[in-house]
Amino acid sequence: MKNPAKVNEAIRHLKPQAAPFEEEMSLNFGPQHPSTHGVLNFLVVTDGEVMHQALPNIGYLHRGIEKLAEMTPYSGFMPYTDRVDYLAAMFANQVFAMAVESLAEIEVPKRAEYLRVIVCELNRIASHFIATGALALDLGAVTPFVQWLREREFINDIMEALCGARLTYNYMRIGGVSVDMPGDLPDKILRFLDHFEPIIDEYNRLISNNEIFVKRLADVAVISPIDAVNFGLVGPNLRASGIGIDLRKTLGYSVYPDFDFEVPLGKGFRGALGDAYDRYMVRILEMTQSCRIIRQALEKIPGGEYRANVKKKLKVEENEVYSRVESARGEMGVYLISDGTDRPYRLKIKTGSFTAMSIVEKASQGLMVADLIALIGSLDVVAPEVDR
């Protein structure tokens, strides 16, 4: 840009401490850009291929879901939670249902919990498809992304047969789930898993082990464990930095203690600990674990009711709760305050992408423009989840 003063003026409100460079160029990365996942905007401050910093500018998809919650009855809010994170809608469903159940002291039937776990893990796999596939797509490899989309289509079909929707499931209800699974669904899921598990291996041969891909991600955008904690990273991003916090294990909510699974941690697979490749690889490894959980859940699933008796017009006593689940993007929390009426007094949704997004400002310093997309892709940021 011709006028450095203008540049500094433009970025001043985003980052006052940014030292002005004489030969600086500010570049609008997004909101319409092929590899910002959703509508995001980064102001890239650069003087060539190497960036000084990328300043995220969010809010393009802010829909005020928290405000909407204050106007919607408890039972009617479930469809809105689908829209928080459209790639992993089940988790938002679950965390909201868990919050209300905890407040209203509703006992969820065992079968419903198992059904929840099955669909959540399927959804986690589907979400990681997009995360890992889109990362490969951002780095220029188109085929892996399409391969994963194909696999995701099977999961979408399963979900469609189960609850009638492919993306915005609205499957869970306060006190259970909306419908029991059809009789042939376990077989369908098992057949999918049989097909899918060797495909992970094949996918690794196609792209994960590819030397160019490894070189693009290894040692790029390293997030140290201290930074990860400081910036509140959650989920796979945190575990990639070597910190083994998985709410499924630590909290043991729902029926997760019944299952035998591992929490894959980043250990510097091909580079430093906590680099982009670790974040990618942790997601790939998590898929296998999700498959294990689904298999166990299908084996152990008890019969019986799938939905507790809940009043249609649910009123909750004055109380408050903060419930959390391990979503595909890490800890997703709902802070819910009830005031005795049939709608929440305040509902706050804490998402993993929001905190993951805030680290971009720091982690992007000194990266190249091409690495920025690797960083965003490996953090698996979903724009609507950031903005809510």
Partner: protein
């Protein structure tokens, strides 16, 4: 260590002036004095017996009746496997609190969000700007008395409800009799 024990620890350390109350709810919270948020959080984070390393979320709640805004901090300690909820109030007319940015970097964005949606100012925050809404937005939407403007930069914020339009049209033509 249960939240009640954390409360006892805090009372021992800071006294009743700073740690106001311990309230039993689903997630019991500790009510703290709004002037000492940073000190208490720093203590909780670095004290070897608590080690609340993670700031899970910061939320703001508007209470027009009390004329106060509550700010709620959810701290999580993986070592104790405990969630610690700190709550503090700030007057609604001039909401102001200490920023926790020096304790957890992630507080930066959480506080910006609360500033954006509830209008709470955080002193010592490096970059207190609106984060979700445009910079020239008026009002703070999560306040209970917030009324949305009809237009923003000459753009309508509402579209006519087709159901209402249809009803009016039908009534005009006398179809619905």
């Amino acid at each position: 260590m249960k939240p009640a024990e954390v409360y006892k620890l805090l009372i021992d350390r800071f006294g009743e002036d700073l740690i106001l109350a311990y309230v039993e709810t689903r997630n019991p919270y500790i009510k703290i004095n709004n002037g000492y948020v940073q000190a208490i959080c720093t203590f909780l984070r670095y004290n070897p017996s608590t080690k609340f390393a993670f700031l899970s979320s910061i939320s703001g709640v508007d209470y027009p009746q009390r004329n106060e805004i509550d700010i709620v901090y959810h701290l999580f300690s993986p070592f104790l496997n405990t969630l610690c909820v700190l709550k503090t109030s700030t007057p609604r007319d001039l909401p102001e609190l200490e920023s926790l940015e020096s304790v957890w970097k992630v507080a930066n964005w959480f506080e910006r969000e609360i500033y954006d949606l509830l209008g709470v100012r955080f002193t010592g925050h490096s970059n207190l700007k609106r984060i979700l809404l445009p910079d020239d937005w008026e009002g703070h939407p999560l306040r209970k008395d917030y009324k949305e403007k009809n237009s923003y930069h000459d753009m309508e914020t509402m579209r006519p409800d087709p159901l209402k339009v249809l009803r009016e049209k039908n009534e005009k033509s006398g179809k619905s009799q």
